[in-house]
Symmetry: C2
C-alpha cells in the first residue's frame, strides 16, 4: 500500500481535532505546528477534508477548523481511500476502481490479492477515529515481537 504523506498528515490533524472535539476551532498554524506538517501543504489538505465534510472552517480572525462529524462517524477507510485513492493491491480486484485485465481468465494470483484487499477493507472501514483514538499507541517493540512470533518481515 504505502500510504502517502498527505494521508499521514491528514490522520495526525484529525486526531488533534478529535482531542478538541466541541471545544472551538484550531487555526491551521497551530495544527501544522503541533503535528509537524508544512503549513501551506496543510492548507490544501484541510480544504480537501472540508469538501469531504469531515471538518468545517470558521473564517476570519479567531477562525480555524473543527471536526464537523462525530469521531465515530469517520472511518479510517474513508480517509485512506480519499487521499490514497485505492487500497486494492491490483486493479482487477478493486471495486471502486476496477481495471479490466486481459489475463483475468487465466490469472492465478488474483485470489490472493483479493484476500488482502478484503481484509484491509474490513479493518479500515470498521476503524473509526473514535475507536482508534481509544486504542493505545503501538510501540516499535511490538513490531519486532510480531516478527519473532511468526509474522514475516515486511
Amino acid at each position: 500500500m504505502k500510504v502517502s504523506m498527505k494521508t499521514d498528515y491528514a490522520f495526525r490533524v484529525l486526531f488533534t481535532l478529535v482531542e478538541h472535539y466541541q471545544r472551538g476551532p484550531i487555526p491551521i498554524r497551530e495544527l501544522a505546528r503541533r503535528n509537524e506538517v508544512p503549513k501551506r501543504f496543510l492548507e490544501q489538505i484541510m480544504l480537501e477534508m472540508k469538501a469531504k465534510g469531515w471538518v468545517a472552517s470558521i473564517m476570519g480572525k479567531q477562525g480555524g477548523y473543527v471536526l464537523s462529524k462525530s469521531p465515530d462517524k469517520i472511518t479510517a477507510g474513508a480517509v485512506i481511500r480519499h487521499f490514497y485513492g485505492v487500497l486494492a493491491p491490483i486493479g482487477c480486484v478493486s471495486v471502486i476502481q476496477y481495471e479490466p485485465c486481459s489475463q483475468e481468465p487465466v490469472c492465478r494470483f488474483r485470489r490472493l490479492f483479493l484476500d488482502v484487499r478484503n481484509h484491509a477493507a474490513r479493518l479500515m472501514d470498521s476503524a473509526t477515529l473514535d475507536s482508534i483514538y481509544q486504542g493505545k499507541p503501538v510501540r516499535q517493540e511490538e513490531v519486532f515481537n510480531m516478527e519473532l512470533t511468526g509474522g514475516a518481515g515486511i
Copy 2:
C-alpha cells in the same frame, strides 16, 4: 499497496514456468508473447529473478528460462517484497525498512496499519507458487459479491 507492473509481469511469467516445470527452457520471446509483457522490459525482470535464484537461464540458441526452485519453495511474499519493496502501509510498521517518525510516541493509527501489514504478510508468505497454482482463478463477480455481502468498496 498497489503492486507495480513489474510484480504483475513477474507473477504471470512465473506461472508459465510452473506449468512447464522440468520440461525444458522457454525463451523470453515466448514468455513475453504468452503473457503480454513487453519483451525488452521482461529481459530486465528475468535478470532480477535469476539473481534471486528463482529462475535459471540457458544461454545461446535453443536457450531460455526455467524455474530453478520447486514451485512450493517460492512464496508470493518473496516476489512482491522484491519487486515492490515493502508491503507495510507506512514506514513505522515496517520490519525490513523501518523509518523512524517523530510522531510515534503520540501516534494513534499505527496499530491499524500494523494489523493490515501483519495480515498481508501472513497471507503472502504462506502462499507459494504451487499453492496458488492449485487454486482456481477468481472471477470478477466474486469481487462484487464481496461488496454486497459486507466488504467495503476499495
